[in-house]
């Protein structure tokens, strides 16, 4: 009852000087807004990227050339994997199937006068099935296309839309520009819209046979990545497949024990773990920024509370004359400080939520998600700030001498 009445009283006193309250709580407002907005963005990014990983299927294993930076120098090479490595991995017992791939983001594609940028992927016939990509029209690249280095292409739905609009694309000729110049390809299929796979937009992808891509577009003997599938998504099967792939490649690349591998093998789970580490670090960074902001906010609140104590010295004297205990006065100012910062926190939540939505609307990159957890954390931080910064002013108020306080002009 006492607590509720003090809360109500403190809440009313916020509106005696509304501008002063807003200014004093600015730090808390920014701190909380930063937490809520940053968390909403991070959450949105995470669920989009993790969702993309999941759509790949959880038994995926990625084999990539191993490139590291050691004291500023690149170690390893980009061209340590080739088509034969992919075949060898495909023959491993623990591997269901494997596919080499090369990809080139942002290649120029043209149909008559229209042109756009597409992510060109050189793939084999299993690509559509491995990535769960449905065909909307025509058919996917065949084994014969791959063997014969056929100049055929399958378009992502957005690319088809941009080049052809509503007209059919099958059997039309488009031009793709690679390192070896511009080549003409025949459209044999169009993917159904899919959304994101991994970190890229599947609908902006165009697929050509990997042999064609290597010979005619990019003039290379190496592949960028070999995508393999373990027999099942269980940890045991994935680990076994990873081990077998590593051994196969070491043998093929003649890497002795103790030597550095020129490739790396990562399961989808490894990549999710890595990503979680990154977002974890980002969270710490965001919370630190918010912490600094709240610290500054706390000083603001301490300041306004000290002013309030001085301003209300006489009132404190009157309350003491009426029988207020020192502890009552202490509680009253502590509660008031927390109510002020809780109020600031609430405004901060609204501002942060608005900010996240504004970023979502402007960038259209991802959906932001304001979670209850981030709101609760932010408000708890704000209220704690209030209590801590209220301690000194409240203590000062409670130590006033009633006679002196009553005399205060």
């Amino acid at each position: 009852m006492f607590f509720l009445r003090v809360c109500l009283m403190s809440f009313r006193s916020l509106f005696v000087h509304p501008l002063r309250t807003i200014l004093a709580t600015l730090g808390v407002i920014f701190g909380v807004a930063a937490v809520v907005a940053a968390m909403a963005i991070l959450e949105g990014m995470s669920s989009r990227i993790l969702g993309g990983f999941e759509s790949l299927g959880s038994n995926k294993i990625f084999v990539m050339p191993n490139i590291e930076r050691r004291s500023g120098r690149m170690v390893g090479s980009f061209d340590s994997l080739d088509l034969d490595d992919a075949d060898a991995i495909g023959r491993c017992n623990a591997v269901a199937r494997a596919m080499p791939q090369i990809s080139n983001p942002g290649a120029l594609v043209k149909f008559r006068s229209k042109s756009t940028n597409a992510d060109v992927s050189g793939v084999t016939e299993v690509h559509a099935d491995m990535n769960n990509q449905e065909m909307q029209d025509g058919e996917f690249i065949s084994a014969a296309n791959v063997q014969g280095s056929a100049s055929v292409v399958v378009l992502g739905s957005k690319i088809k839309e941009e080049l052809f609009g509503g007209r059919p694309a099958i059997d039309e000729k488009i031009k793709i520009t690679g390192i070896r110049g511009s080549r003409t390809f025949t459209v044999i299929g169009v993917f159904a819209p899919k959304g994101n796979v991994g970190r890229s937009d599947a609908d902006r992808q165009i697929c050509v046979p990997i042999t064609t891509a290597m010979d005619k577009l990019y003039g290379t003997d190496s592949v960028h990545v070999i995508l393999a599938e373990a027999r099942s998504p269980t940890d045991a099967d994935i680990d076994q497949a990873k081990e077998e792939i590593a051994q196969t490649l070491r043998r093929r690349h003649k890497i002795r024990a103790g030597q550095q591998d020129d490739f790396q093998v990562q399961s989808q789970k490894d990549m999710v773990t890595q990503f979680s580490q990154v977002t974890g670090i980002l969270k710490v960074v965001f919370y630190s920024i918010a912490g600094i902001s709240l610290f500054v906010g706390g000083i603001g609140i301490m300041n306004i509370m000290l002013v309030a104590v001085t301003e209300r010295t006489r009132e404190i004297g009157v309350r003491m004359a009426m029988g207020a205990q020192r502890s009552d006065v202490l509680k009253q100012f502590l509660i008031e400080a927390s109510v002020v910062s809780f109020f600031g926190g609430t405004i901060g939540v609204i501002v942060g939520w608005g900010l996240a939505n504004a970023i979502e609307t402007v960038t259209r990159l991802f959906e932001t998600t304001t979670t209850m957890t981030s709101v609760v954390i932010a408000l708890t931080m704000a209220t704690t700030t209030g209590v801590i910064s209220g301690i000194y002013p409240a203590w000062k108020a409670s130590r006033l001498d009633p006679v002196e306080a009553l005399r205060y002009e």
């Binding site: 009313r12 309350r319 009426m322 029988g323 009633p402 006679v403």
Partner: protein, 260 residues
């Protein structure tokens, strides 16, 4: 038995290099239900006496028995309880909390006494001073007399034994001041002990007993009847002091105490 019993009460405090003897061994007894005025010039010690009587401060030495309890050396916590339960304060400048309504102001002592039925009790106290219809008004929306009546309602809401009023009419015009004094008379008739601190003799003589102070001592203490009233008002008892009533910061001239 006395409600208030002071024995050799002293209050000394340092001011710069010197020690100010604000109260210099005061003996005083006030019975339950009395209406007493304490009067004297600035610096006479009447404010200090009021603070001690009101349990807002502790004496340097001496004993203060209030309602059978020795309160002169209680802890801050117990003093706050005594103030809450036994004493109602009325101040010259009303000292209402500006942000809250009349009824919420009246409720303050109940609130610190952790009492129930707060609304009901506060409303009754306001009705008792004739301000029932003004309960929801803020102090800034009330006249001076009305504000002082809210303050009196606040002082009586806990049904204290003593009302301590410090210059309650000092900020009011004569007519409003009279209305406020009428409320004190009413409370007195109802059995409340009223102690009025004032430097205005015409206010002081409305009590049944007038105590005059100077230099930290009681110099005169008498019942008020028709003859003493005119003596007090005309100042014949202490001509040098009483010729010029009102706040006067010059040191009072030496005069022999009378009637002690």
């Amino acid at each position: 038995m006395s409600l208030i019993q002071l024995d050799k009460l002293m209050k000394h405090y340092p001011m710069g290099d010197t020690m100010v003897r604000a109260l210099d061994g005061v003996d005083l007894s006030i019975k339950s239900g009395e209406f007493v005025s304490i009067t004297g010039h600035s610096g006479s010690g009447k404010s200090t006496l009021m603070h001690l009587l009101g349990c807002l401060d502790r004496p340097t030495s001496g004993r203060y028995m209030l309602d059978g309890q020795l309160v002169s050396h209680l802890s801050d916590r117990s003093l706050a309880q005594v103030r809450n339960r036994k004493i109602g304060f009325v101040f010259q400048t009303f000292n209402l909390i500006q942000r809250t309504s009349a009824i919420d102001n009246v409720a303050v002592p109940l609130f610190y006494g952790r009492q129930s039925n707060v609304g009901e009790k506060s409303r009754k106290a306001l009705e008792r001073v004739g301000l029932g219809p003004r309960a929801t008004h803020k102090p800034s929306e009330l006249s001076g007399g009305e504000r002082q009546r809210v303050a009196i309602a606040r002082a009586i809401v806990n049904e204290p034994k003593i009302i301590l009023a410090d210059e309650p009419t000092g900020n009011l015009d004569t007519r409003t001041g009279k209305q406020i004094m009428d409320i004190f008379h009413e409370l007195h008739r109802a059995g409340v002990t009223v102690i009025l601190v004032t430097h205005e003799m015409d206010v002081a003589v409305q009590a049944e007993r007038v105590i005059r102070m100077r230099d930290g001592n009681i110099i005169d203490d008498r019942r008020v009847d028709d003859s003493t009233r005119s003596e007090l008002l005309s100042g014949v008892m202490l001509p040098a002091v009483e010729q010029d009533p009102g706040p006067d910061r010059s040191p009072p001239p030496i005069a022999k105490p009378v009637g002690m």
